[in-house]
Amino acid sequence: MVGEPAKVDPMHQFTIEPLFGSAGWEVAGFNIAFTNSALWMVITAVVLWLFMLGGMKRQLVPGRWQMAVEFFTGFIDSLVEANVGAAGKKYVPYIFSLFMFILFANVLGLMPLGIVGIHPFTFTSHFTITGVLAIMSFSIVLVVGFWKHKLHFFSLFIPSGTPLAMAIIIFPIELVSFLFRPFSLGLRLFVAMMAGHVLLEVLSSFVIDGWNAGAGFGLLVGVPSFLLMVAICALEILVAGIQAYVFALLTSLYINDAEHLH
C-alpha cells in the first residue's frame, strides 16, 4: 500500500457478485445467478429458522430463548390485533415472516463479521428486494380488498360524508396516494438501510484517510469520526429494528383498509 492512497468506495458494499461460478445460470432467459445477496438471504432464513427452533420446545414454563421467540410472536400478534382486529389473525404468519425476515436481514447486515473476513451483505439496501416485498404486501391489500368488497373497494378513496363536488376532486388524490403506497413502503426501507451503511462507510474512510494523512489528521479527524461511527452503529441497530417494525406496521394498516374499508 506504500505510495498508493487507500481508497474507500462507500458504494462498493452494495455490489452484487455471482458466487460459485453461477453467473451464467438462467431460467427462461432470465439470469438467476446465486449471488452474495442470495447467499445472505439464505443465511438470514437459516439464522431465523435456528432462532425459531429455540422457541419450539413448547415448555409450560419457558426458558430464556423460548421467551425471546414468544416475545416476537406475541409482539406481531398484538400489532396485528391492534391494527386489523380479529379479522387480522390470518395475516399473522405473513406479517410475522415479513417482520422477522427484514429484522434479521437488517441486523445481520450490521454484524461486524468483516473482522473475521466475512463481509455481510445487507440485501434490504436493494430496492429490487424491498420493492418485491412492498409489492407483495400491496398485492395482498388489492386481492383482499377486491375479493371482500368487489368494486365497492373504490369507496376507500372517498372519505365518508364527502359532498359529490368534493368527491370528484378527492377521488383522484386519494387514488394516487394509494397507488404510491408500495413505492413509499419499499423505498423507505431501502433508503434507510442504504443511508446508514453509506454513512458508516464514509466515516470509516475518514478514519482511514485521516490516519494515512498523518497523526495530526488522525487525531483531529480520525478519532472523532471513529467515536461518531460507534454512536451511529448503535443508531443503526435501532433503525434496523424500527424499519422492520414500520414495514410490518404499515402492511398491517394497509390490510386493515382492505379488510374494513374505513
Binding site: T15, T35, E70, T73, P93, S125, F190
Partner: protein, 164 residues
C-alpha cells in the same frame, strides 16, 4: 450506485432468490413455526386462566362453607343463650315467690311484735300514772300534812301529765 448500475443484470436473480427464500420463510417459519409458538403461549394462558378459575371456585366454596358454619354457629349460640335466659327467668321467678312468702311471714311477725310493744307501752304508762299518783299523795302528806284522796291525786297527775 450498484442498485441502479447493476439493475439490468441482477434484478431477475434478486427477485428469483427472494421469492424462493421468502417463500420458504413464510411457509416453514411463518405458517409452520410461529403458530405453534403462539399455540404454546395460548395453552399457557389457558392453563393459567383455568388454574385461576379453579382457585377462585375453591375460594368461593370455602367462603360458602364458612358462611354456613357461621350461620350454624350463630343458631347454636342463640339457642344456648335462649336456654340460659329461660333458666335465669325460672330461677328469678322462684326466688321472687320465696321472697314474697318470707316477706308475708316477716310482716306478720312485725305486726305481732308491734302490737305487743303497743300493749306493753300502754301498760307501762298506766303503771307510771298510778305510781306517780301514789308518789304525789305521799309527797303532799309529808310536806303539807294534808291527806289527799287517791282519786284527787290521780286527777292532778293526769292533769300534769297532759300538760307535759
Amino acid at each position: 450506485m450498484p442498485q441502479i448500475a447493476q439493475l439490468a443484470e441482477t434484478y431477475s436473480s434478486q427477485i428469483f432468490w427472494l421469492l424462493i427464500v421468502f417463500g420458504l420463510v413464510f411457509f416453514i417459519i411463518g405458517r409452520g413455526m410461529a403458530p405453534k409458538v403462539m399455540e404454546t403461549v395460548g395453552q399457557r394462558d389457558q392453563q393459567i386462566a383455568d388454574d385461576l378459575a379453579a382457585a377462585q371456585s375453591s375460594r368461593d366454596a370455602a367462603d360458602e362453607q364458612e358462611a354456613a358454619w357461621r350461620a350454624r354457629e350463630n343458631a347454636n349460640r342463640a339457642a344456648a343463650q335462649a336456654l340460659v335466659a329461660e333458666a335465669k327467668a325460672k330461677s328469678a321467678t322462684a326466688t321472687e315467690a320465696r321472697l314474697a312468702k318470707a316477706q308475708v311471714l316477716i310482716d306478720a311477725l312485725t305486726t305481732d311484735a308491734e302490737a305487743r310493744i303497743g300493749a306493753a307501752r300502754t301498760e307501762a304508762a298506766a303503771e307510771i300514772q298510778s305510781v306517780a299518783a301514789e308518789a304525789a299523795q305521799d309527797i303532799v302528806a309529808r310536806l303539807a300534812g294534808i291527806k289527799v284522796t287517791k282519786t284527787a291525786a290521780a286527777a292532778a297527775v293526769k292533769k300534769a301529765m297532759a300538760h307535759g
